[in-house]
């Protein structure tokens, strides 16, 4: 039997994938345009993450470019009446990612071209240049007058505002994430999905940044949890309209924003048309260049009912810089009482011990300064050799700096002393056999990994950034400047190793800070009452 190639049936795997993607995309636009006559045009995409959507409201005449080599076909969804307005939606169905794309989120990092020789000559001087540039950006950002909350007038009592329509659906929450990839903010996002489910809410999850959303499978496998691929199929300017339609259709009572910009931009519409919907956001880290998400949150604070933060530093930032009422800013630490937040940590490092295992855990991204980590490990190895201490280290994490770190470790002869492990390593087990945790980040909120380290008896040494001082005593905080950071880390390790009084003081101060933090509410304790109120349920008492 002979047939033309173009008539060959589509293989079953491809057919299943395309059908699923088309269904997901259709569901989004059919929610957004419930009454309109929808015309979908699908094509095979070259991009694994983004569908390059084009939406035309009103009549649209197809052009030859719409029907090119990648054209898959068109589908129509009639409107609710013959005179329903037309909407044309053109989408490229993202291709499936290859294994390399699944593994790496970013392209490998390379030093800036003009400074590549400098990096080869001295990675630490290169880091110093970068540090200076960042501090300069911070100074400039501090001078900008862009840290003001946008006013929101509640309107005159003469005109009554809209009230919630009756719905036969159980209350739901919309959780907006940055993306479903590895990260501290993302971990909290996943936790909130779980808590909302426990509170009895149905949960809709969206992400603002197109990506492979590698951790989507960590969402609870539950019929009440729905991940809607807006990140892939809906342009940001249409998000507010979509959120309105979804909220009405699904009885959404709460919107929780985790670093999701288009949801912030949906807030005015929610305030005007759906004022009964509660709005919360969670923020973690004040970035140097412009304040990052906390600044965004501060700017939108009038539109938010609750601003959840993970550190006292952020409470001060919102109440001080943005003049936000203290009762609106909700502190909820990223602690988990089930995994030992209440227990007093038993820290392992002993005076004059003959072995030392140092660990670094974090994405190999500039924020964590992996180059400074390697330089610190190099200096610690030299210190250990001088003091006849058997030195070993583990670096956990994947990311753009992976190849650069491998090259540096090889160059410094640290290949055998330093073990590299992927991001999905059993972190508690590793911390259980580590003496020290290094965190020479250029910025942090209050690093979750420091909590974990202390829980498992490992002493963290961190740069003095963000809210790290809320957990770590002064002596365990090292300067941010790269050279000084390396030098101070070795000095503090040396002092803890030699000076029993100093070591005990650090342990005592760590235990005190730990107890102080443990007395604060956890994020779960802070958020659960809000979720339960929206669900109309009662929080469980343990």
């Amino acid at each position: 039997m002979s047939f033309l190639a173009s008539t060959k049936p589509v293989d079953s795997a491809t057919a299943a994938y395309l059908t699923d993607q088309i269904d997901q995309a259709r569901a989004i636009y059919e929610t957004l345009f419930p009454t309109q006559h929808l015309r979908f045009t699908f094509s095979a995409g070259h991009d694994p993450v983004w569908s390059h959507p084009a939406v035309y409201e009103g009549p649209h005449v197809p052009r030859p470019s719409d029907l090119g080599p990648d054209y898959l076909g068109s589908v129509e969804r009639p409107g609710t009446s013959p005179s329903a307005p037309e909407v044309t939606v053109q989408l490229s169905i993202p291709r499936q990612p290859n294994p390399a794309e699944l593994k790496h989120t970013e392209a490998p990092w390379h030093p800036m071209r003009k400074l590549s020789r400098l990096f080869r000559a001295s990675p630490l001087i290169y880091e110093h240049v970068r540090y200076r540039a960042e501090m300069m950006r911070k100074r400039q950002a501090d001078q900008r007058d862009d840290k003001n909350a946008m006013p929101l007038n509640p309107g005159s009592p003469l005109i009554s505002s809209a009230s919630a329509p009756d719905s036969d659906r159980r209350p739901a929450i919309l959780v907006g994430m940055h993306w479903l990839e590895v990260g501290g903010a993302e971990k909290l996002g996943f936790d909130t999905v779980r808590w909302a489910l426990q509170a009895g809410l149905r949960v809709f999850v969206v992400a603002s940044v197109p990506s492979l959303q590698r951790l989507a499978d960590r969402l609870p496998d539950h019929p009440d949890v729905t991940f809607i691929r807006l990140d892939r199929y809906l342009p940001h300017h249409l998000w507010p309209r979509y959120v309105e339609k979804l909220a009405l259709a699904e009885n959404i009572r709460l919107v929780h924003i985790h670093h999701c910009v288009p949801l912030y931009e949906s807030l005015p519409l929610l305030r005007v048309r759906l004022p009964w919907i509660g709005t919360i956001d969670s923020t973690h880290i004040i970035e140097y260049a412009n304040g990052g998400y906390p600044r965004t949150s501060g700017v939108w604070s009038s539109y938010l009912d609750v601003q959840h933060v993970i550190s006292q530093e952020l409470v001060n930032y919102f109440c001080g810089t943005f003049r936000i009422s203290a009762d609106k800013v909700l502190l909820g630490r990223m602690l988990d009482r089930d995994t030992g937040a209440d227990a007093t940590p038993d820290l392992r490092l002993k005076l004059g011990q003959k072995t030392l295992h140092v660990t670094f855990i974090g994405r190999l991204h500039y924020q964590k300064r992996p180059v400074v980590v390697v330089e610190t490990l190099r200096a610690l190895q030299a210190w250990a050799t001088k003091n006849d201490v058997a030195f070993s280290a583990t670096m956990v994490g994947d990311g753009a700096f992976e190849a650069a770190v491998t090259r540096l470790l090889r160059r410094y002869g640290l290949g055998s002393a330093v073990t590299r492990l992927p991001g999905n390593t059993d972190v508690p087990a590793l911390l259980q056999r580590s003496d020290l945790l290094l965190l020479p980040s250029n910025n942090e909120g209050l690093a979750l990994v420091c909590y974990e380290a202390i829980t498992h008896g490992c002493i963290p040494i961190s740069t003095r950034v963000g809210a790290q001082s809320e957990l770590l005593p002064d002596d365990l905080l090292v300067p941010l400047a790269p050279h000084a950071s390396v030098k101070a880390t070795v000095a503090v390790v040396d002092r803890m190793w030699r000076d029993g009084g100093f070591l005990e003081r650090q342990k005592t101060l760590l235990a005190r800070a730990w107890a102080r933090l443990a007395a604060d509410p956890t994020a779960e304790e802070a958020l659960m009452p809000i979720y339960c109120k929206a669900a109309g349920t009662t929080p469980k008492k343990d």
């Binding site: 002979s2 047939f3 033309l4 293989d11 491809t14 057919a15 095979a44 080599p69 294994p99």
Partner: protein, 299 residues
Amino acid sequence: MSALNQTAAVIVTFNRSAKLMKVLDALAQQTMRPDVILVVDNASTDDTATLVEARARQDGTIRHLRLPKNVGGAGGFHAGMKAAYQMGAHYLWVSDDDAYPQPDAIEKLHDALVGFESSTGWRPSFACSRVEWIDGSLCEMNCPRPVWDWARFVRPQTAWALVDSCSFVSAMIPRWAVREHGLPIADYFIWFDDAEYTRRIARSYPGIFVPESVVIHDTPDNRGVNFGLIDEKSLWKFKYGARNETSFRRREAGLISVLAYTYGVRQQMKSAEVPSSLRRQIYGAIMKGLKFRPVIERV
């Protein structure tokens, strides 16, 4: 993804009408027939044009792309692939005018490209057939080059070895590879255009050798490419080959690679006692290759 399977065959021909007709016969007998057969006619002076046009009247898939002058195999493949791409082909099957694909050769290549991607997640940049000479032995000049981990996905039922280079004799190239890497270099005129092109597209991911897809290459004799085989008659081709490969090596790996190549060529010519007058011309071609920097045309 293989939701779109429009396939164009690109056959480059020059004054070999009888063999070309046999190729068209073989294409007509394919289990999976190309949607378009582009016969790129390098300004043949025999009856090629008449015969192809007569065929095209009977078979709507055949297109006669007559070039105004002979631009060599490289120019022909460049023009043919460009036309196939512009016509919207999702797969480009490229071959010579003296290579007869077995009835399932094209379908097997397509199945292998699709099957490899769905089983491994990787997109091969091309798939190439096992090329046999007329007596059933392996055709020496069309042996693909394996990569170091060629056996990574080889299984008894899917013995697809990873390769980074093959000849334009029954090779199937997906559209994305042309979009990302451009077209073969027309300025090469002849020789090494296929090796350069497949190595270039294999940067994305290697190609696969598909032994169950077989094509018979009807060449006068079964000889490989070896500088020890140079004679007066074949010298012109070897000169193009030396110039093109030198240019490629200079571009990709620098002068050290060119020196290594020159040494290899010298050894081959020396051991076969190639006359010094011919050797000098080959060295001259290598020197030309150092300065020869043809532009890669993107689509």
